[in-house]
Symmetry: D2
Subunit: 365 residues, 4 copies
């Protein structure tokens, strides 16, 4: 058996960073050795630097790691660096890391729209990672140093949306129109301060800055394809995936619920049973590759009429499985259904871990 | 000044009944004298029969009223009887009351789909009450006794939906397609037991039995018109108002939030500014008639990007005004926006009171 | 009828400041003319400077007031200045205002422990305001300018606690021992950011910085008395009021619930009925003085076994009345009971308004 | 290795029954084969009879078990029968089972106060189970059939309370006085209907029927001792454990928080450090016996000033460990602290499983 790959985390004291640490405890492939945070935290033991607010205890292995600043040099032994940096800092730091030849898997939004940066929901479009493989090959052929790269994790609500769409598009062709109304959990907003209590107690906030635009744009990139030379991602054209999103913040800790309706480009559309079967039968590539965190069931199609519910269903497959319910015909478009995904797992840190597992399985790290 | 009209309440101990009582305390037009409830409560003082669970105290006037059974004879002096009966009982009781010549304004669903029963959101379609006027006229001409009648209050989520649609349809013609995802408060479900706490704490239930069908059907009746002889309501045809609803129960006490998108039949559609102005300028008939409970502003068009919010906006115009926000163009249909309405006021008991005020203003009671 | 007194608000854009503005809209005694806030807001119209987050709309009269900096000169026409300043700023600003001869009623904690500053719960110890009267008299006799002064509003959880204790101590002598466990609402913590949503959703935080000490100390001052020459407040000695508090933050928007048990110094203690009657019969001085905001019933003694509840009972007497329930004998101390008070009314801004009304009734402003 | 013991569950479709089933999935000692429920469910497959509302999926093994009525004969092969029956039914059914020679571990309250029925919190007083051993011995000596017996699980809020008290009483002698205010989760009340959503949304209910009396009484039994002949439980006398409880229902899904203060009979009391060390060092007997579910750490003494919190700390040791925080001196009694325990694990079904593991380790089943 091979030694575990050494990995690091940027933004280690933040909410996404804490999740990365939890998910890397006892990981069979990765050994977390380097924790980067702000200069204020650098030099301290992690246990002293962090305000740990997870439902599981801070893993023993991480307690005494001395936090370092977010400089590439300190991470030079890392096969992958997971970034939970705030977007205010992620731009320059991730660029520095990439230029230093490091592999960065980032939860920040900064580079998601770059055509040569894969935007990956690991249970949906791992083939976009071949853009990385192409870069590595090209460098090797050119006798150049191993190049660094950035892979972006998608927006959390987008991740939940595209998971059930992937098998549908693969089986039945483009989705011409799609409306999505989200009921989003507060954990995605972090906790210092995150969403204010008074905003979600007996209340709904019908607005999340930038979120609707992310859903409408990222969906077209994730469901797009690589150019023939594997050097860029080609988004789906607008007429093959026109999304309209309405995003709400609600009093749920974890788990984004999305009520969606959609219309296929090819008419007549498939039958209701075909739609359900397509999602239920979908096996993601990560599963086929034997990745540790891959869900056993990628999309759970529930038949009870009051499911999925976030408190009951968000932890399917440790949060890597997506649940779909109330699949039914829609009087306005073709079909409507409810989608539930775990926003901090498949929608954030967890996705990063599974992306790294795929990179490893494909020998890209 | 005329004496106040005597009125009664059926189902007086339930949650809708309690709301009727609160709204009738110190009412300038009505004097509540008769309270009907189940045989278990009959014969007791109201204060001893009820488990009062309102944020305002049980009004003094109601405390010592002796609860009666729901028999028409006990209500024979009532100009209007407000029914908060559960649908299990409403069918036969309301029929008996009507046949006894009484005017019933009912929150129950039982008679909403009868073609000769007006289904009224008082800030939207009070003209449907002229069906009552026609009956009264016909009886008078025939020398018959004054006939009883039933007027139905709409479903709560439908009420919020149609309020902003009314001026749009009046100004710009039919809405061909409309999708609505609701985030509904728990107060509408009553409290014994109502919605279970474990279902809404850190959770969403993406299903409310019968609700989606009600929204899809009732909208077409409320926005429909009377037949030329005023004897029946003619629903909008499906092609002039095709609604698709997805209904969710969320952890909000009062106030239904609805994320809607819609497309006009007449293309090109009006401009965004025309849409907003149409709603903002709308003055409901109840206001013109000088009804006591009519909202000063029927539809509030909010410009802040994170409004309306149920905790902050549900009490506009004592719950009789509806708030609309985030009105914007929609990439899939024409426009999308967020609608907030107070489910126990304009969506239930409050609507009943305002319907009665209109009946009075029109001399139908 | 006299002209209304001109008043001002410091910290006008914050959560306490917003509450002051709401309570001063249409006030019969006061006319709010000056709004002070940070230099960032100064110079703007209030409507443009504030992120208004109240359940009632921003009153028209306040919208176009130009916000000023918190300098005494701008407030020189004010008979009273209400301070909702954060304690980081309140110290120096309130001192400047006092030295400029202004009357300050402050919600900040900075001066609460000064022996010559009254700490007042207006339904409990308005007689402590005679310390102000003494200062005014002394200055007048000395031919000096009218002196400024500061009156402090108590901590919110202390306010609820002392209201029912006042009649008990007056009737039955000192309370030797008292334990209080609070379940405190989040509105007291403001909203930018205030309490984080993730801290109160499906959760309790068993700690509020400084709160327990405030309850244990302030109670002794509020229930203490003035020195014989009316120049200082003499706290109750520890043996006449030993308080132990445990403070928790819970998912309630408004209304602090406190479970208390206590033992009288004089034994045997009064009977349960005497205790209840004493609280029920209590009439606060503000009521006798005819103050506009004084509660009709100061302490509501509820007999239903599951009351008081914050959602149902916090608005008694517009939040100026305190509710007490489950009064019963205690196997460890003498009695135990549940106390509910509205933290932003009698526990904060509302108290300030009623203090000013008392100052006016006593001709101290 | 021995074969697993066959066990059954009574009340299998209820909330406690569902928890028993989850905890028995893949249990190393027990194999769940018999599920008893009401006649309405009997004859159906469990998956068809139950409205499964747990966060984990219904275990495969249980799906196809045919539900039986709650008759002893159907359970005759069971070494232990876990009862999650409602108290309306538990009395007669559990009696029948006991008389049929079966071992019943019950969550119902019916037999808790019988002097010859052990009332056991397994991390606190497993030695009370020797009362069962005595019965078995006596029967064996008498040549009688193996007798059935009932062991009662304690009330949920009592379980959390006594866990940290046990080492204190063992080390420092009786606790003379104790006050406890609870903030209790809603899961303990089941879900059909359980606690109504409107009662816990933005609210607290300061009353739980019978709960305070249970805490005050059961604590004295659990911390009591067996009679010298092991035939009865002798409660602590009132003067060695006088408890005053105030119980509140709050918006928390799982985990009871209790703010307690207490005074030792022996004065002077131990030091604060001694108190903390005593709890931290406590090792429960179940751990020493090697029971599968025993917590690694029985009482976690937390030093952060804002812990324990239910959402973050309730799952320590899978819910079998109890967390204590904010241990500090109390101005009224000797010490005060916050206790958190998982109400459905150590306070209900989980306790039953661990009791059975102890019975097995002691060869009583």
């Amino acid at each position: 058996m091979c030694a575990k790959k050494i990995v690091g985390v940027l933004g280690a004291t933040g909410s996404v960073g804490q999740r990365f640490i939890l998910l890397l405890a006892d990981h069979p492939d990765f050994e977390l050795k380097v924790l980067g945070a702000s200069p204020r935290s650098a030099g301290k033991k992690y246990v002293d630097a962090v305000n740990w607010k997870q439902t599981e205890l801070l893993p023993e292995f991480a307690k005494n790691i001395i936090v370092t600043e977010c400089k590439a040099d300190a991470f030079k032994d890392c096969s992958v660096v997971f970034s939970g940096l705030d977007s205010d800092y992620a731009g320059s730091i991730e660029k520095e890391f990439k230029e230093a030849g490091l592999a960065v898997v980032s939860n920040a939004k900064n580079y998601r729209r770059e055509v040569d940066v894969p935007l990956v929901v690991p249970i949906v479009n791992p083939e976009h990672l071949d853009l990385v493989g192409q870069k590595l090959d090209a460098a090797q052929k050119a006798g150049a140093n191993r190049p660094g790269f950035i892979v972006c994790i998608s927006n959390c609500s987008t991740a939940g949306l595209v998971a059930p769409l992937k098998p549908l598009v693969d089986s039945f062709g483009p989705i011409e129109l799609l409306t999505a109304t989200t009921l989003q959990a507060i954990s995605g907003a972090g906790f210092s301060p995150g969403v204010s209590g008074i905003d979600v107690l007996d209340n709904i906030v019908p607005y999340i800055g930038g979120e609707e635009d992310k859903m409408e744009w990222e969906t077209r990139k994730i469901l797009g394809s690589l150019s023939s030379d594997n050097t860029t991602v080609v988004n789906l054209p607008d007429e093959d995936m026109k999304v309209s999103a309405q995003c709400n913040r609600v009093a749920v800790s974890d788990g984004h619920t999305e009520c969606i309706s959609f219309k296929f480009k090819n008419q007549p559309p498939p039958s209701l049973e075909q739609v359900k079967k397509s999602m239920q039968d979908y096996v993601c590539v990560a599963g086929k590759l034997g990745c540790h965190s891959a869900p056993k069931q990628t999309v759970h199609v529930l038949e009870q009429n009051d499911r999925p519910q976030p408190r009951l269903d968000r932890n399917r497959d440790n949060g890597y499985g997506v649940s779909v319910g109330r699949v039914r015909e829609d009087p306005v478009l073709d079909f409507k259904m409810v989608v539930l995904s775990h926003n901090t797992v498949i929608g954030a840190a967890g996705a990063g871990i599974l992306i790294a597992e795929i990179l490893l399985a494909k020998n890209y790290i």
